[in-house]
Structures are given as C-alpha cells and as structure tokens.
Symmetry: C2
Subunit: 278 residues, 2 copies
C-alpha cells in the first residue's frame, strides 16, 4: 500500500506536545512553523480562560480540531457521577466556543478497589448517553478514544478500536459519537486494519506519536514519530482507505525528553518528520 505524503495543511500538533509552554507560547510556536491546526489540552485552557484562548487562536489563524480530554465518567456514587456530567456539559460548550470539531472523551478507570471492568464500562456508557443532547445542541462531536491497555483501569476501560466500536454500537448515535484513534494506544493490535475498516465514517481523529523500544514510563515516555516501532504512515493509510481525510495530530507525552527541549526544536522536528514518518 502506497500512502501519499502528508501536506503541511493536514499536520496538526496537539498542545500537550509542548507542555514546556503556556497556552500562548504553544500556539505561537505552531504558527511560527506553519502549523495552523491544534488540539487543546484542558489544563492549558484553564490557565488563561476561554476568552483569552479564543483571541490567541484567532490571532494565530489556528484551527482547533478538538478539546481533550473529556468523559472520565466512571464514578460510582451519584453525586460524583453527576458532577462529572456537569463538567462534560461545560467542556462541550467550551469546545463549541473554541470552534472545535470534537470533544475527545475517554471512559475513566476503575474505582479504588474495583476489579469489574464491565461494570465500569457500563457506567461510562450511561454517562455518554447523557451527553448526546448537550452535544447535539451545539453541534460538537464526541470522539471516543481507546487508550493503551497499560493505562486500563487508571484512565480508560476501552483499550481497542474493537472495544470502542462495540461501545459506539451500543450508543446508537453516530451523528454525535465517533472515534479518536491514537496510534500509540493501538499500534500493537494485529486486528487494527480490519477494525479501522469497520469504523469507516466514524473515524474522526488520528493522533500520532511513536513507541520507544526502551519505554520507561507507562504514561509520559512517548517518542517522536520515526524514533520507535510504529508505522504511523501505514496506519494513516488504513484510516484513509476507510474514508478518513482529516489531520494527523501529533501528540507526544514525553516528560523527560521532548518536554525538556526548546519548543521550536520540537516543532521543527515534527515538521521534518512529516515527510518521512507521518
């Protein structure tokens, strides 16, 4: 399978990739290197507030693919569960104000001491149901993102594209829900190409980074595309064969390496790798 080169217009860089920057610095850095798409990290948004964020995005001609992460709806007691729903309604409205296509949602993990994945999955399903009307009202898609099995229990009980599609089938609201596929989370799955074909029009987002052979942390040691074991271009090809034509959003959590480098060097490296590894 030959996959065409990725034009710069389809390159997006997730704000979390520049954790060393504040909101404004990250957006200005992307723009300085000709990248005009991003995904917004909630913590960074909270630092400066919605109005200021919107101004910075407009000043830099920046398109927002998504706000991340929402969901986290596996609380057991009603009070906490309802509080989490309220937060999600707020994040949906924020997504709309940012001009984003989607709020990316993850299920949340197991409660303390809990070992029942199916029960946690059912609580998230119930929570996601309750977000259908608020999302429809403002035209925001909810993109369910499977996370890597090594964070199952802590952050998400949905670990494969197949698991996520089963959840979408149960939700039965494909005008609202879709899928965010992060290559780092699912690259190991020998069934991936089949499941991406099954996903079809439900493919809303593609996040890319790389798996390092000597991975030192289960959350914060992702690699730059090209430095590890993931064939991101092949996965993009499978997505495109299934109908996807959206941006490639590079999203690198790298506490001890890339988050310690100058932002311009990080973004320049990503732009360079576009030609060879995205």
């Amino acid at each position: 399978m030959t996959v065409s080169d990725l034009p710069i217009e389809r390159l997006s860089i997730h704000q979390v990739t520049l954790m060393q920057c504040d909101f404004r610095e990250s957006i200005e850095c992307f723009a300085r290197h000709g990248v005009h798409q991003t995904a917004i990290w909630r913590d960074k948004l909270n630092e400066i507030g919605l109005d200021e964020a919107v101004r910075i995005l407009q000043d830099n001609d920046m398109t927002v693919n998504a706000l991340c992460p929402g969901g986290l709806l596996t609380e057991i007691d009603d009070k906490s569960f309802n509080a989490a729903l309220d937060l999600n309604r707020r994040w949906i409205d924020q997504s709309a104000a940012l001009g984003a296509d989607s709020l990316v949602i993850i299920t949340g993990g197991l409660a303390d001491g809990e070992t029942n994945l199916a029960a946690a999955r059912d609580r998230a399903l119930e929570g996601f149901f309750r977000l259908i009307d608020p999302a429809r009202a403002v035209g925001i898609r909810l993109a369910v993102e499977p996370l890597h099995p090594m964070v199952c229990g802590g952050r998400s009980v949905i670990s494969t594209v197949a698991n996520a599609l089963d959840l979408l089938d149960d939700l039965g609201a494909d005008d609202v829900f879709g899928l965010a596929v992060d290559s780092y989370a699912v690259w190991w799955d020998l069934a991936l190409s089949d499941q991406l074909a099954r996903a079809g029009a439900r493919l809303l987002h593609f996040h890319a980074s790389d798996w390092l052979r000597d991975t030192k942390d289960v959350r914060f040691d992702r690699g730059m595309p090209g430095d590890g074991m993931i064939d991101n271009r092949q996965i993009r090809g499978w997505m495109e064969k299934a109908g996807f034509s959206g941006p490639v959003e590079v999203e690198i959590f790298s506490r001890d390496h890339w988050w310690q480098h100058p932002a311009d060097e990080v973004v320049r490296t990503i732009v360079d790798r576009r030609a060879t590894h995205l």
Copy 2:
C-alpha cells in the same frame, strides 16, 4: 458466576517469582509450604544443568507444568533464525526430561528498526511450524503465550487471546499447540471471556499475578494477586467454563518489591491469597 475455592493441589508457583533464590532454594521453598507444582525458568535451569535440576525436583516431589520461555523466533537472517530453531529443539528436549507438560513459547519481537508487525508474526509462524515434529516426537505441548501490549515489539507480536487463537488456527496442529493465558497480559481485554470460550480445549496454562494501579516498569513491576485491578478468580472461572481444569501458576516479576523479600514470606503470602484471590 460463582467460582469454587482453589485447592492447594491446584496451586503452582512459577520459579521466576523467587528470582532472589537459586534453583534449589526456590524448589525447596515451594515444597516447604505445601506447593508441589512449578514452572521452570530457563535461566535458573542453566545455572545448575538438567541432571541436577531433575534430582532436586524429584527430591521435593515437584511436578513441572512447563519450561519458560521458548520461541523467540522472529530473527530475520537465516543463520540467526536457524540458531533460534536449534535452541528451541533443545528446550523441547529439556522440557521432556523435566517431565513438563509444555514448553511455553512467545513469538519474539520486531527486529531493530523494523515496524512491520505482520512480517514478524509470519516469521514466528514459520518457526513454530518447524517445531511441530520435534515436539510431537517427545510428547511436549507448545503453549503460545500472548504478552501484554506494552511489551509488543520487544518480546512478542501476539498481544491478545484472539491474536493467539488466529495463530493457532493458521498452525492447524492442535495436538501440539495450545494457549498459555497470563492474566497480567490480557485482563484489560473486554473480549476476554468470549475469546477464552473460543479457545476451549486449547487452554493449557493459566498464569496469575496482579496489575498495580501505580505501575512503575513495563516488565518488572507485577503485583501479588489481590493487590491490584485483576479479578483472577473471575478469569479462572471463564477458563474453567471453557473446560480448563489445570493449575493456577502464580508468576510475579517484581524487581523492586517481591524479589527483595524473604522467599518464605512471598510463598506464604501466595498460599494465603489462594483462599481469597485465586
């Protein structure tokens, strides 16, 4: 689903759980606590040699479930691939000499710089084919073990029970091949119960440990059953519903915790947890 308590006669402890012991110390410690089944770790066997190992096992009335790990058959160049095959033939013969039921095999990972999982999987498939005759000749089963996706690429390109069963289907030799299911590797899979049902009589081994919420290492930070997020008893129940009646082999890689504790304390804890968490 109610799952019956596990009798001590069905408890096995994998030798790797006592990495702080030499071969003899580990076997004697198991026997001292009434545990008379184990799985042998190759490195420990190599320390003392086959004849001495067999004597120690007989002296302690110890049944050997399996020798681990074999396989590792993803080498690209013919010379290395053939050398790996030779090693496996030797491990098969050693398994027979130990009176083991199986050699547990993992595929091996990607070559340096390689990003093609399907190609690595095909090389392992070819290697496994070549082991059919040697295994049949001595009556040793080859138990394919999926490893956790976080070691995909480094140790195994088979990460789910479904992936492993597809491989067994391709091998078409169910008198030789079967499955070793390690709860640590596959607990996160929402399709697990269905896939164990699909496996049926191919379920040869069940390894148990626990997933710690604050996992600090991708290979060597496993927990004691009961200390984490895995419902080992439920998974055993699914195995038994599919026809499995073999031992529960507790296998804990824990470099900074359990490998630093006195062996008797580790084994006593496992025996205690049998009543509540296995």
